[in-house]
Amino acid sequence: MKDDSKLLELLEEDGRASAKELASMLGLKEKEVDEKIKDLKKKSVIRGFKAVVDWRKASVKKVMAVIQVKVIPQAKDGFAKVCLDLSKDRRVLDAFVATGEYDLLLFVEANTLEEISDFVTERLATRKEVTGTNTHIILSQFKRDGKLFADAAAGRLPLSP
């Protein structure tokens, strides 16, 4: 798998890079790259491809929140079970079990603030294992999934010696 790490890094940066481009950068044959990607998908090393959307630029209102969740101490894979169950909600983009004062960390995206509120009151507060939540509403974003959301790069000359 280590052999594929360069390929994976390139795909992580740009999931739409064509097999041809990837092949030229890695010094491989196009067919080899195709096969590697197919294999990596099959093995779930690659979990999927998606666009990183700047909804503000698309003039679409979205609300994002980071929610910390405190859970009653669980035996063995108890935390994982709660986390996996919460992950099934479509509004949850990322879900982690983490160290610290809170046990779970959820990144939630919805169309309105009400939907976020519903998620907290209906999906989280109603669960008996959940003993506390801490919701951070995101005010502005500068980077997501490795992509910068700021436009102004320092000016370079269009031509230089």
């Binding site: 390139l10 740009d14 481009e21 030229s24 950068m25 010094g27 370079r156 000359l157 269009p158 031509l159 230089s160 010696p161």
Partner: protein, 385 residues
Amino acid sequence: MTKVSKRVKDIPFSGIRKFFDLVSERKDVVSLGVGEPDFPTPAPMKDAAIRAIEMDYTAYTSNYGLLELREKISEKLKRENGIHADPKREILVTTGTSEALDLAFRAILDPGDEVIVPEPSYVSYNPCVWFAHCKPVPVSMREENEFRVQPEDIEEKITKKTKAIIVGSPNNPTGSVLRKKELEGIAKLAIKHDLTVISDELYENLVYDGEKHYSIGSFKNMKDRTITINGFSKGFAFTGWRLGYAVSNREVIECMMKIHQYTMLSAPTISQHAALKFDESGKYTKSMVEEYDRRRRLLVKGLNEIPGISAITPKGAFYVFANIKKTGMKSEEFAEKLLKKAGVAAVPGNSFGTSGEGYVRFSYSVSRETIKEALERIRKLMEKN
């Protein structure tokens, strides 16, 4: 009305400058015309500069530059280049490699001397020779030699007036890297004809495919007849800081320092403090080179798939010098068409001397996305023809 010097007036503006104005008029241009890294300066160097300002390290330094920096450069030269230089007397820190180049010519040339300049060449070589009231003598670097200048071609141009040869490897604009054998041939000529070699090694860190950079100043009997010029701009994404250096024997460096002392006093102090961290910033250089390599492969492959364009794989720097002769167009005509019809900026090869006619310089010091977009636009344009 002030009359300007006739001599200066007769020296043309850089061909890049001329093209620059055309590019500036247009919006939505994808530019492969840039000759500088698109990476940020390594963090340790930036932090050192900020600290220098806060500590009020803002006075002039010694004319030669901070001794601590010269000592670090001296260690680096020993370690990486095999050149042994006394930090006190054989190294001069300059305001960019450009200044080092100008000083080198002015320190060794007398009016009427000739300097052999392999072409296509970096845009400043010829003008710097002219400013020193001397004559540049071009030697063509040919595509069949992968743009590596051949010692026998140089020898043909040597006359009684020849004083120096300038060698730029890795090369701007062709991306060629001279082999050890070729450099040894040049060294032999220099010794035989009593010439100085000015070795511009600014792109030394940017080599690919396991190619190795050699410093001619490290060769036997060459230390005293070589002026090695270098800087931090390309290897450390340091262009705007304006810092370079020159290495040679004591007498040459003293002469260069004399001009520097009266015209520049000392190189920017804050930049010198930043540069003190260059030896801690090697890992940044390494990751930059890895990324340049990916872009290089992408650009060379893409260009070769476009009808009318062919490009040999460059081994160094961050330029591809592509052959466009099959299009039947001249370099400038081609570059102008590319700009006007496809919105892609590249530098016409003849900006680097007449041997560059029939070629266009594409830079890959831009993002992969930019390279892909440019290739797509060029492909569309060329397929229409």
